[in-house]
């Protein structure tokens, strides 16, 4: 790894996000992009330590201390790659050449690791209608979906139906 990559100090994005911590994962909702992400324990650990102070080497060491094992820095880079693709980093350091083309599967194969491989998955955006009794006047609807409120029906051109 070159020296530039070694001192990389990533910064996590904080603005425009709703964060919900669950016992074994962290959920993040991106208000700007209307996207929801689920970070597994390892990805969440890395993301929470991206404060512009910790280098990737330090994050790897801290993770190793927590898990009581040696953690290869490649794990951190894989997490950063996924966090960056999900727009969860303010500042994403350039990955070292050794990391280019490395994906989750090749990582698992090459490291044979005890650590859970970092994973950021996208989840479909929630719809507020999932809990409504009925859809009110003028709101979008799907024929046969959640019913329109009393005396309204779902009508209009295909794909643009509203309760009228």
């Amino acid at each position: 790894m070159n020296s530039k990559a070694r001192i990389a100090k990533p910064i996590a994005r904080k603005q425009g996000l709703v964060i919900q911590e669950l016992p074994d994962e962290v959920l993040v909702y991106d208000l700007e992009r209307d996207r929801a992400h689920c970070l597994n324990e390892t990805a969440a650990f890395v993301w929470q330590r991206c404060d512009g102070q910790n280098s990737t080497t330090q994050i790897a060491r801290t993770l190793g201390d927590q898990l009581n094992c040696e953690v290869d820095e490649k794990i951190i880079w894989l997490a950063l790659d996924q966090l960056g693709r999900s727009y969860l980093l303010e500042k994403q350091p350039t990955a070292p050449p050794a990391m280019k083309g490395m994906n989750r599967r090749t990582m698992m194969r090459s490291l044979g690791i005890a650590v859970t491989v970092p994973l950021v998955i996208s989840i479909t955006a929630p719809t507020v209608q999932a809990a409504s009794s009925c859809i009110g006047s003028g709101s979008p609807c799907t024929p046969g979906g959640i019913p329109c409120c009393a005396n309204l029906s779902c009508s209009g051109p295909a794909g643009q139906q509203t309760c009228q």
Partner: protein, 360 residues
């Protein structure tokens, strides 16, 4: 029973067995096949019960099948939705408090607190009840840019309660805290009554609503006033009792705290069957309005057309009973369904003629 009804009913029964006790800290053991879970997963997801479904299967072998991942996603989304919805509730209440207007938050967040985790109960729109005199002012406040993105369903009183005044509801309501924000919610007596009547008003199509009732019934304090809950309207009182009995029969809600006078003697078969069929239907009754123009066109062109038209607009037995203020007993529902259909047809015909007259 028609073949298609048997399919709906059996799916409804599987949903009932999955959701039984799902609101408890320690739900009962589950006996469900992967095929059953595959079949009901879209129904659970579409009706807002995915998180409850996930809770029931997450510690079982079923948690590894693909359908389980759909429910898991539903749970995750609701967990995020809680955080988003709570901040919106805070914004709305801050605006109302600045304007010194009192409002009662009903359903949604006010019910979610009865579950072991808020994320188990989806939070949709924010239902607010205000005094009629405040309605317009509140409408203006909530139209401000700060409230943009808050989906508010503003009610001037509650149509479910014709036997209790808005002042009574306010006088019995109480305050709960959401972080630093004070939120006014209905008394438990009024809230249980509202949820039970609301269930029937909408044909009980969401199993989640019956879980809400079950969760509250099992959390009732010893000083719960059943006289207030059942109200002075005997019809509505019987609806409340019937809904509680449904929660007991279909979901195994413990009704030990429900006194005899509030217990329905039995749940009529039509009510139980209608609920199961609603639950088993991926697209439960979106009853189209009875529009005179297509009806008249179909009368003139094709007798089969009018039958189809009528069938699509035919009210389910629960909604028809509610709309016609009917009794919940063993008598057939056809008179109520005919009455409800005719009333709606008449209303639309009058409206149609009035608009046609205005055009000429």
């Amino acid at each position: 029973m028609k073949r298609s009804d048997i399919g709906l009913r059996s799916r409804g029964l599987v949903i009932a067995s999955l959701l039984a006790g799902s609101w408890r800290t320690a739900p009962p053991p589950l006996n469900l096949s992967p095929e059953d879970l595959d079949e009901i997963t879209p129904l659970l997801y579409n009706s807002g019960a995915a998180a409850l479904g996930w809770r029931r299967i997450r510690d079982t072998e079923l948690s590894t099948i693909p359908s389980a991942e759909v429910l898991h996603q539903g749970y995750r989304l609701q967990a995020l939705q809680v955080a988003i919805s709570q901040s919106k509730i805070e914004i709305v209440h801050r605006l109302l408090q600045e304007a010194r207007v009192d409002a009662i938050l009903v359903k949604g967040w006010a019910v979610a607190g009865f579950y072991p985790e808020l994320a188990l109960r989806p939070l949709g729109d924010i239902d607010l009840v205000v005094r009629p005199a405040d309605y317009e002012a509140v409408g203006r406040i909530l139209a401000r840019p700060e409230a943009r993105g808050c989906w508010i369903d503003l009610h001037s009183g509650l149509s479910e309660f014709q036997d209790r005044s808005i002042d009574e509801l306010f006088s019995r309501s109480h305050i709960v805290s959401l972080r630093d924000t004070q939120i006014r919610v209905l008394s438990l007596e009024d809230h249980l009554a509202l949820l039970t009547i609301h269930l029937l008003k909408h044909g009980a199509w969401r199993p989640l609503w019956l879980c809400d009732i079950a969760a509250i019934v099992e959390s009732l304090p010893n000083d719960f006033d059943w006289k207030i809950c059942l109200g002075s309207d005997k019809h509505r009182g019987s609806w409340i009792s019937a809904s509680i009995a449904l929660a007991h029969q279909l979901l195994g809600a413990n009704i030990n705290k429900v006194p005899l006078q509030a217990r329905a003697k039995h749940v009529p078969e039509w009510l139980r069957e209608s609920v199961l069929k609603q639950w088993g239907n991926l697209f439960p009754g979106d009853h189209l309005p009875v529009q005179p123009r297509p009806l008249m066109t179909n009368v003139l062109t094709s007798p089969r057309g009018i039958l189809k038209e009528t069938w699509e607009r035919w009210p389910d037995s629960i909604t028809a009973t509610f709309n016609m203020r009917g009794r919940i007993n063993n008598f057939p529902r056809l008179p109520y369904q005919l009455g409800d259909f005719s009333t709606r047809a008449g209303r639309y015909l009058i409206d149609y003629l009035r608009r046609a007259a205005a055009r000429t």
